[in-house]
Symmetry: C2
Subunit: 396 residues, 2 copies
């Protein structure tokens, strides 16, 4: 297939580098992460304890989580959290939330040491046995968990490493990838070959921190809709194109974003996004995947995928492939104009400004499945090979 | 574990019967289905053609799809479509929709013969090349597809056999199950061992018609939330309890329901539902899984799971396990009262009437994760083993 040869010439496509992983190194890495996590918790708790021992009021300083405390640099490639902190000092008024924060940290330590995990909801219900420190509403326990997450993110520890995992389902994966997953109890590493799922796929677990990878793929194709993913998977597109397919099913979940990020980092793979051509696909799905979001900037260092590039569907594709379209709704136009005016990502990339302005001018949007107008497998036989022959032309 | 031994005594638990499947039988079954499907299409088209040859107006008679054309019998175990039909005769006014129906049937025939598939959306975009017969809106092509589905359902052919597949994502599966999936092109059967996915899982494909199974499991546990599924999967609950775990992630998708139904039928496995104790979990998730829905009764023969029984969380569990609760909202109370008054399923089962009345009286609801109050793994170590020791006590 033409796309294969030309990929090598194209700039963003990395040479295939199979990452060789041994059982021991997988286990060692997981243990190191756990040590760092427990150390973070212990250090913080000791400081509180020492202050109390000196009859002083202990405090905890959390990074401020808001758009006002965010910076974006082209080199880093994602929204970073700034240096503003809010300090919570132990007083009569704050004693309950202070205690809850410490109990939540204690729960995290137990989880790491017991090699277990809890969802946000689990943690809320666990607190029902914390007597005076129990939470009345899950929104309260969620907020405390977010604070702890932000606190430890400064030391490079994320929420999944604290063993708090999302309730939501992960995405689906198929293609040239072996996932290595050590058993929670025995440590024996399961080798999961993502070429061997038939028409099904590998469902990403809620937490992916313990995973390692082996692959000779050249890129990751992150797909918006289940329908297109199923088509590419059933026709084994990953085999002819040396790639890994990931189904995002709309805005990708935390686990899916983290999975793509880890895989992209550890195996040095570019990520190509294939989404609908509308302001939602571009600014909500793609931008969140690539640079993260403003109001959760403490997460972006772990969750965004700076190596992502935008394969399509582009506004130019609508013309070139004469795609069937739908008119842009008011909410679409507003979203596009907001992005042009306020979003540091789109403001930093003139190619994107041009594309968004183009889309607003045309006044239409097109879905990735609109390519089916030219035949159900046109996407496999024509569109993707033509695009993949020139990854240097992808939008940044 | 106590649950294992006592399962054998309990009535609904079937004896483990490993279903042995050969590559040839898998392929033969798929080919038979395809022949039946093409035969349905050809017969219908020939009848139309003959009528035209005799200079008579051809017509097509579709089953009426509405609650008024539904019957429920305890023996069959699901809502069945009745005998009312609506007839579409070819006239000047109906010529476009008549032609569209025939083109859609033609597309289905091409898909079966080319061994491919299309989503609803794909089919809509394909029609853009049908000139005068093209659809202007996807709602129109969806309606035509629903009619064709209802038409052929009378001969036991479902939409997936017509090769129209859902856009939506399937559920996740883990446990004592090998899925056999013949390759679309080569026919080589992939054996997918659902015990070998580490903390991840098998993601059900959009269409499951071609799948066969091998299993020595004793039951299928269908779980509402991703959080509980992940806990049971990470702790390999399926190993100690000889079962298959299925994550429904809310109301199960078509593919998930069909998968559970096929697996339950072909391997003679009971299905135990483990959902939140609230009118939504009981009437929307469980009831839809077990007997199907009223307004799509032509699907129920394929999609509902009459072997399903309700493990929990029951209203009685809220008291027995002293679970943390939330007050029932007005919408919950309304849903429960509607079910008691109008739903033939709940009206036919006095245990369910009692349980729903109990819930309304208590005025509260409880989530399955509320069991975490007693410890994160209480659900694994205590709740499920105790319940599974007495499947005869499950709600019907």
């Amino acid at each position: 297939m033409a796309a294969r040869k030309k990929d090598k010439a194209g700039k963003p496509a990395a040479a295939p580098k199979p990452a060789k992983v041994t059982d021991t190194s997988v286990k060692r890495k997981a243990e190191e992460l756990d040590r760092l996590t427990v150390d973070c918790i212990k250090t913080t708790a000791s400081e509180v304890h020492q202050e109390i021992g000196k009859h002083r009021k202990p405090d905890l300083a959390f990074p401020v989580r808001s758009l006002g405390n965010v910076k974006y640099s082209l080199e880093r490639g994602y929204f970073e959290i700034g240096r503003q902190k809010k300090t919570r000092t132990l007083t009569v008024n704050t004693v309950k939330s202070f205690a809850q924060t410490l109990r939540m940290m204690g729960l995290s330590k137990d989880l790491v040491e017991g090699n277990d995990f809890a969802t946000k909801r689990d943690a809320y219900y666990q607190s029902k046995n914390w007597e005076e420190a129990r939470f009345d509403e899950q929104t309260e326990s969620d907020a405390v968990m977010d604070d702890i997450e932000a606190l430890f993110s400064v030391r490079g520890v994320n929420r999944e490493q604290l063993r708090f995992i999302p309730d939501e389902h992960g995405g689906a994966v198929a293609g040239r990838l072996v996932v290595l997953d050590p058993d929670r109890e025995t440590g024996v590493v399961e080798r999961i070959d993502c070429t061997r799922f038939g028409s099904g796929a590998y469902s990403i677990p809620s937490s992916v921190e313990q995973l390692s990878f082996e692959t000779d793929a050249k890129f990751i194709l992150a797909i918006e809709t289940g329908g297109v993913f199923q088509r590419l998977q059933s026709h084994k597109f990953w085999q002819t194109s040396d790639c890994i397919l990931v189904s995002m099913a709309g805005v990708p979940t935390r686990a899916t974003r983290r999975f793509v990020r880890k895989l992209s980092d550890e195996c040095k793979l570019p990520v190509y996004a294939f989404v609908d051509c509308d302001p939602y696909g571009i600014s909500n799905i793609y931008r969140t995947l690539k640079v993260g979001s403003g109001n959760a900037a403490h997460l972006n260092q772990f969750f965004c995928v700076p190596k992502a590039r935008y394969l399509g569907v582009t506004p130019a594709d609508i013309r070139e492939y004469q795609l069937p379209t739908h008119p842009l709704l008011d909410v679409d136009v507003k979203r596009a104009k907001d992005a042009l005016k306020n979003d540091p990502f789109f403001k930093s990339h003139k190619e994107w400004r041009g594309a968004l302005e183009d889309l607003v001018r045309m006044g239409v949007r097109a879905e990735q499945q609109a390519l089916a107008k030219w035949g159900l497998n046109y996407v496999i036989e024509e569109y993707l090979p033509r695009k993949l022959a020139h990854p240097e032309k992808f939008l940044p």
